[in-house]
């Protein structure tokens, strides 16, 4: 029988995958993908706990996480386009200089 533990372990695995992506990526667009994976892992945990306690609070938080992710993508991709027009590359190491 599939219980809360299974879903939480799956969520932890997905979160670890996202975290590995954040640590090893140098391409900024790929970094965004990895953060999406981490947000989705959190959403799975929220939905599982909401189901386990028969409480809708977890689902509400998952909705707000989705709203935050959508606005993050809109602003982040705008910044990425500006950065690409300025520097011509999406390499993360170019940002270490912090020079416009």
């Amino acid at each position: 029988m599939i219980g809360l533990g299974h879903y939480l372990i799956l969520s932890a695995i997905l979160f670890a995958i996202g975290l590995i992506g954040v640590v090893r990526r140098k391409n900024l667009l790929m970094l965004f993908f990895a953060t999406e994976i981490m947000l989705n892992a959190a959403n799975v945990a929220f939905a599982a706990i909401s189901n386990h306690y028969h409480d809708l609070g977890g689902q509400m938080f998952a909705f707000f996480v989705i709203a935050v992710a959508a606005s993050e993508v809109a602003v982040g991709l705008g910044l990425l386009i500006v950065l690409y027009k300025k520097q011509g590359t999406l390499d993360l190491d170019n940002l270490t200089r912090m020079k416009g």
Binding site: R24, V44, V68
Partner: protein, 186 residues
């Protein structure tokens, strides 16, 4: 049946997200990410969160991935950013250890003592109905704040991406672009 469905979804999602993280091709990474999002909505349906599953399909797979694929047209994804890692093992150990630590920290209060439902699900209402009831009573203020946040994000996206939209990089020559980047990096 539910056991089979869970393991089916779990294994497929893990594999697809691993492709996203490991692939050096942006297009492959984005496609597998979108497929993983679709399968995650399947998990939500299994958990009885119907409305959340539909929102996941519409917002993530419909809007966010479409935004990513539009943004990909701005970038020259053909030339890959070189990923130079000092040690792959260190990355894996570090990522796994940090994730395990975070999970333990957040799971500790839940294991420690039992918790009671603050907003118990209404028995004789479907999931979208009860979500609407809770969302428009207890969570009305966060809902409105989220609406304003989305508006601000939309304006920010338009202003950031629309700046100098008339002088696109694709109409410039490659020499011009490299000169531009050389000038800006100096």
């Amino acid at each position: 049946m539910i056991t089979f469905a869970f393991y089916f979804f779990a294994i497929l999602i893990s594999i697809l997200f691993l492709i996203t993280v490991m692939s050096s091709n942006v297009l492959y990474a984005m496609t597998s990410l979108a497929a993983g999002m679709v399968l995650i909505s399947g998990l939500f349906f299994m958990l009885g969160a119907d409305f959340l599953g539909v929102v996941q399909l519409i917002v993530y797979v419909g809007a966010v991935m479409a935004l990513y694929s539009f943004a990909m047209m701005f970038f020259d994804t053909g030339k890959n950013v070189k990923e130079k890692n000092s040690s792959a093992l260190a990355v894996f150990v570090l990522g796994g250890a940090i994730a395990l630590l975070l999970v333990l920290i957040f799971a500790a209060p839940m294991i420690g003592h039992g918790q009671n439902a603050l907003h118990p699900a209404i028995i004789d209402a479907t999931n979208p109905q009860s979500v609407g009831m809770v969302l428009f009573t207890k969570y009305l203020v966060p809902f409105e704040v989220a609406a304003i946040m989305l508006l601000v994000a939309m304006v920010a996206g338009i202003i950031l991406a629309g700046k100098k939209m008339d002088q696109s990089l694709s109409t410039m020559d490659t020499t011009e672009v490299t000169e531009e980047s050389i000038r800006s990096t100096k």
